[in-house]
């Protein structure tokens, strides 16, 4: 293992799995664990996700701040289609499961299975984005432009940023799967690379869990 590792380290990217942190390789490209003994990239991802909480918190907060104050229609109840949104919501939820399974497989060193789960996850995510594109174009068709009303502006910005996050995730996971397939990544750091991508992906999913319930489902409560 150490022979392979030493070799792989020479072509290492800047993110280290941290598994071998207390190893004796001195060169900076591999010493990625910080003073806490944790992989920097995972720490960074959690810090980033913390800031994302505030980011999406403000977008969702703004949506509700202006809820019911739109002057011009169509209003949420006129355009929302719970049926279609439920399907895409379910797909995104399932993508979280496949993502977790990818992380799990990678930890066990099962690269092929990890790659496959990553691809399935990316596919589910891409389908979600497809649904959103359809939804947006449908809304625009019904006369709901970006600047039609307070509802339309806050809704599009909120869900648009979420969809953007999903899109980035899809690209990320696809790249990761490809690199795993080509064997281009350092085997030692792969588990953390996949885990960190997973953290991002799950976060995007939980943001949607909130949006789906609070924006879509609660809209139809009398």
């Amino acid at each position: 293992m150490s022979a392979e590792l030493a070799h792989a380290d020479d072509v290492a990217l800047s993110h280290d799995a941290g598994h071998e942190s207390d190893h004796d390789h001195g060169h900076p490209a591999t010493v990625e664990n910080n003073f806490l003994g944790l992989p920097n990239i995972k720490l960074a991802m959690w810090a980033f996700l913390g800031s994302e909480c505030m980011f999406f918190g403000s977008l969702i907060g703004t949506y509700f701040f202006y809820h019911g104050k739109s002057l011009a229609g169509p209003l949420p109840q006129d355009v929302f289609s719970i049926g279609i949104t439920s399907i895409s919501t379910f797909l995104l939820l399932m993508s979280s499961l496949t993502m977790a399974l990818a992380v799990d497989a990678m930890k066990l060193g099962n690269k092929n299975s990890a790659r496959n789960f990553l691809l399935v996850t990316a596919l589910l995510g891409a389908t979600f984005v497809g649904f959103q594109v359809y939804e947006f174009s449908h809304f625009v068709h019904m006369g709901l432009g970006l600047s039609t009303s307070l509802f339309s502006s806050t809704f599009y910005v909120m869900t648009g940023f979420h969809g953007g996050h999903v899109t980035i995730g899809v690209i990320w996971l696809t790249m990761l799967a490809l690199l795993i397939h080509q064997g281009k990544l350092n085997t030692q750091r792969l588990p953390v690379s996949v885990e960190v991508a997973g953290l991002y992906w799950h976060f995007v999913d939980i943001v949607w869990i909130v949006i789906f319930t609070f924006v879509y489902l609660l809209e139809f409560i009398q």
């Binding site: 941290g18 598994h19 071998e20 806490l36 003994g37 944790l38 992989p39 995972k42 720490l43 959690w46 810090a47 996700l49 913390g50 800031s51 909480c53 505030m54 999406f56 918190g57 403000s58 969702i60 907060g61 509700f64 701040f65 019911g68 104050k69 739109s70 002057l71 719970i82 439920s86 919501t89 379910f90 939820l93 399932m94 979280s96 499961l97 993502m99 977790a100 399974l101 799990d104 497989a105 930890k107 066990l108 588990p191 885990e195 997973g198 953290l199 799950h202 976060f203 999913d205 939980i206 869990i209 909130v210 789906f212 319930t213 609070f214 489902l217 609660l218 139809f220 409560i221």
Partner: protein, 257 residues
């Protein structure tokens, strides 16, 4: 699902790795069931015996289910439960801040929002239109500020504009037609996007209150209360753009608002 056995970072120690696959799949099934409940239960509306007891708690229940799903994904899929404190801190503190801060700001703004409806000095001068309430006869209640109009409009919309529709049927149909389509030589079409005197809430309110064109469109402030005039304004505002059949031709300008 996974127990605390791997607390403090098994995942960082080579050798002690084991699969959570079973637990993940179990959680996936639970999440699916919860989502199915969220979506399926409202269909019970057709069965009042079952739905009526659920109805009052349905909204809180939806919130609880959403939070539970959120928590489960963070704790298990993201493995934050049992992971390092520093990760928990980095994620949970801004999350809590967001959950407390944004609703608090929202609540504050509602409290400081002046209650709308009455309370405007009856002799107020409307700055935008330059309209001064008449000193003779019953004082004209000044129009509301725009955002209050919007709120009240949405409230009226929730009630299907019933109050305004009724007043319109009693006082306006004779000249503006049953659907607001207008009557030749009597009253304008109120269902197009064409207005002579403007279509903002304030414009409509002033038109109704003080009349237009030397009384061809009568002034209603003497015979209607402010709230009645507002209700009918919400109703005719909702007619805008509905383009009722047989509408009278446009007199005035096409307006966007």
């Amino acid at each position: 699902m996974s127990q605390g056995h791997d607390a403090h970072a098994t995942s960082h120690e080579a050798g002690a790795v084991h699969s959570h696959r079973g637990a993940y799949i179990r959680l996936g099934v639970i999440l699916t069931i919860v989502t199915a409940i969220e979506l399926a239960l409202p269909f019970l509306k057709d069965y009042p015996e079952i739905w009526n007891p659920i109805k009052p708690v349905w909204a809180p229940l939806l919130v609880v289910m959403s939070i539970a799903k959120f928590g489960a994904v963070v704790a298990e899929f993201m493995h934050l439960r049992g992971d390092r404190r520093v990760y928990q801190f980095l994620f949970m503190s801004p999350l809590l801040l967001a959950v407390v801060l944004f609703p608090a700001v929202g609540a504050l703004s509602v409290v400081t929002f002046r209650p709308f409806g009455e309370g405007y000095a009856s002799t107020a001068i409307d700055v935008r239109s330059g309209y001064v309430a008449p000193t003779k006869g019953p004082a004209l209640e000044a129009p509301l500020a725009d955002e209050k109009f919007v709120l009240a409009f949405n409230e009226a919309k929730g009630k299907n504009f019933e109050a305004g529709k009724k007043i319109f049927g009693e006082k306006c149909v004779s000249c503006h037609g049953k659907a607001g389509e207008g009557v030749a030589n009597l009253g304008f079409n109120l269902t197009d996007n064409c207005y002579k005197y403007g279509s903002t809430f304030k414009d409509l309110y002033l038109t109704v209150a003080k009349g237009q064109n030397g009384g061809k469109m009568p002034a209603w402030s003497a015979s209607m209360k402010g709230e009645e005039m507002r209700q009918v304004v919400y109703y005719i505002k909702s007619l805008k753009g509905s383009n009722a059949a047989g509408g009278q031709p446009c007199v005035g300008d096409q307006v966007a608002d």
